[in-house]
């Protein structure tokens, strides 16, 4: 009921929120956002052994140390390659699925929706161990492609959600007009549909990229000995060495994922429920 929702926001109640409600809401917001500030703070800490608060001193040294580390660059490069390939596959498959589901009614449509959503609805560990056991059965050795296989699978839904939300909002009259004016379906797709869904594709792609760049649970099962950036961080958390370097990488990872997400938010801000929901 979007109209009611909109009315609800615009005509607010005359009364003010009670103090306890405001306190509880503020607490919730701080609880959600304050912890990330600690990572930022500790990236500058001079203390490299413990988590002493407040840090005894601040330094920029760890950024230089991180820059010199080959293992970080390798993990980063693998993450970028996996995320790009996973996103590309998800863009193609997610868009095809969205087009089919938007345009047609057919037997078993609900099951197809469930199938698209399932990789994200089931806990990551189930997806991860399933893929792992399938690789075992099919005798597939771990490689770049085994990671991509897992990532593309759960990225499809993000693209699908964005594209189908946009298709539902766009007017069918545009397509009809284009056909009436003599364009064939390919021309209509190229000049009418594609420009219409372009920002949704971009947003879906960015969210898929961010999701893949951050994924750790499925990756631990499909990576073998290879290290993506989250796997590298996990290794550091289990066997710490030079803790502040981990903090520097963490700050960097936050920036890399937040920027595409902010862009995606901005691109889809008028499509209320379009940006992919849930990991």
């Amino acid at each position: 009921m979007p109209s009611k929702a909109a009315a609800n926001t615009s005509q607010r109640m005359g009364e003010r929120p009670s103090l306890s409600l405001r306190a509880a809401a503020t607490f919730g917001l701080l609880f959600l956002n304050l912890p990330l500030a600690f990572i930022l703070l500790y990236a500058f800490s001079t203390d490299d052994r413990s988590f002493t608060f407040p840090p005894p001193g601040l330094t920029l040294k760890w950024f230089a140390v991180a820059w010199e580390r080959d293992d970080i660059w390798q993990a980063l490069w693998l993450s970028v390659r996996v995320a790009m390939m996973g996103t590309a596959i998800a863009l193609v498959l997610g868009t095809l699925a969205a087009a089919a589901m938007f345009r047609f009614r057919f037997f078993g449509k609900e099951s197809v929706t469930l199938l698209i959503l399932l990789p994200i609805a089931l806990p990551g560990i189930v997806t991860g161990i399933s893929l792992r056991s399938a690789f075992g059965v099919a005798d597939i050795p771990f490689s770049y492609w085994t990671i991509v296989l897992g990532h593309a699978t759960f990225c499809i839904v993000v693209v699908y959600n964005n594209v189908i939300a946009r298709l539902r909002r766009s007017s069918p009259a545009l397509v009809e007009a284009s056909m009436d004016l003599g364009a064939n379906s390919f021309q209509t797709f190229r000049h009418v549909v594609l420009p219409n869904i372009a920002t949704a594709l971009l947003a879906g792609g960015m969210l898929a990229f961010a999701l893949s760049f951050d994924e750790v649970i499925v990756t631990t099962f499909t990576a073998g000995q290879q290290q993506t950036i989250p796997i590298w961080i996990l290794g550091q958390l289990l066997r710490p060495r030079e803790r502040p370097v981990t903090n520097v990488v963490a700050v960097f990872v936050i920036l890399v994922t937040m920027l595409p997400i902010l862009c995606a938010y901005w691109l889809t801000r008028d499509t209320h429920d379009a940006s992919g929901s849930g990991k």
């Binding site: 929702a5 009315a7 609800n8 615009s10 607010r12 109640m13 409600l21 509880a24 809401a25 919730g28 917001l29 609880f31 956002n33 912890p35 600690f38 990572i39 413990s50 988590f51 608060f53 596959i89 095809l96 345009r103 047609f104 197809v112 199938l115 698209i116 399932l118 990789p119 089931l122 990551g124 560990i125 189930v126 997806t127 161990i129 399933s130 893929l131 792992r132 056991s133 399938a134 075992g136 059965v137 593309a152 699978t153 064939n184 379906s185 969210l207 951050d214 750790v216 649970i217 961080i233 958390l237 963490a250 990872v253 936050i254 994922t257 937040m258 997400i261 902010l262 938010y265 801000r269």
Partner: protein, 310 residues
């Protein structure tokens, strides 16, 4: 016949050909994604399911490929039941606390935030959700550590005794916050909280203002309106959010591995069994526990209207 138009371009002919055959178009569109999801994803799920019906021979340590239920039987040993129960209890506790923290925030967003501040609220809820999971867990490791920020705050307030008192409670306590169930729960709550806020907010936003006015006109105090009108209407949203918080807690193995005591959760057992222990059948059977629990949970949640609120 000289007036006849030039024959249409090949693409146009193909376009007309396809236009008359919607079934073919549907097939062409749907086959690639279905092939991928069907082979890669469903195929894997079935191979996992199949594994759970094999067993590992105790003496040789090799997997015996004969269909049997004995691996499922192993789930019912005391040790394994304790692990399952511990995980389910944690998931329930995390879900309840998430609901308690999310409700006022979602309520404020839905009722009092203007268009602009609502956008800021959305971002403030979405950004932690989308920023790296490991990094967020790591942030709490810093905060909860023995010498970390929370201990420091308690010391500054001269309340160190209170923290020590809480940590000395058996079972949920431990040597430090980052080595206790309390710590594990805090991190779970933090990580999954946005999944609860968003559906609750969506449900609250749908409550028509006229209902609140009617309630007030009929003499209900704000507190009564909250309890008898707003809260019942938010239940589908809470049920929807609880699906995420519950399911994600059931399956996670990294948070209890990094923050908490050494007593394992389902996810950690699954990970250990398929890796070092090399007992894939038991790992598979264990992985079916969250799937089954969630199947049951979804059935109940559906009754509370969770699917309408998603």
């Amino acid at each position: 016949m000289s007036l006849e138009a030039a024959p249409p371009a090949p693409l146009t002919r193909l376009s007309s050909f396809l236009y008359l055959r919607p079934r073919l178009v549907l097939t062409l569109l749907l086959v690639p994604p279905l092939l991928w999801l069907g082979i890669v994803y469903l195929g894997s799920l079935f191979s996992l399911l199949a594994q759970s019906f094999f067993y590992v021979d105790d003496f040789s340590g090799l997997t015996v490929y004969e269909p049997t239920l004995r691996t499922y039987g192993e789930l019912f040993t005391d040790a394994n039941l304790t692990i399952i129960l511990r995980t389910v209890m944690m998931a329930a506790a995390v879900t309840i606390v998430c609901g308690v923290i999310a409700f006022p925030l979602a309520y404020y967003m839905a009722r009092y935030a203007g268009t602009k501040s609502k956008a800021i609220f959305y971002l403030a809820v979405m950004l932690p959700l989308w920023s790296n999971y490991l990094v967020r867990v790591y942030a709490w490791k810093l905060i909860l550590a023995k010498e970390g920020a929370i201990s420091w705050i308690f010391d500054q307030l001269h309340l160190g005794w209170l923290l020590d008192g809480v940590l000395s409670i058996p079972v949920i306590g431990g040597p430090s916050l980052s080595a206790s169930y309390i710590g594990t729960a805090i991190v779970f709550i933090y990580i999954w909280l946005p999944y609860m806020i968003l559906p609750v907010e969506a449900a609250l936003e749908r409550v028509p203002r006229s209902l609140l006015e009617a309630s007030a006109d009929l003499g209900a105090k704000p507190r009564a309106t909250l309890r008898k009108v707003i809260f019942p209407l938010a239940i589908p949203g809470i049920a929807a959010g609880s699906i995420f918080t519950f399911s994600l807690t059931l399956g996670d193995y990294i948070i209890p591995n990094l923050v908490g005591s050494s007593r394992p959760f389902i996810g950690q057992v699954v990970y250990g069994l398929q890796g070092t222990a090399g007992n894939l059948p038991l790992a598979a059977a264990f992985a079916m526990v969250p799937v089954l629990v969630m199947a049951g949970y979804l059935t109940v949640a559906k009754r509370f209207g969770a699917f309408d609120a998603l």
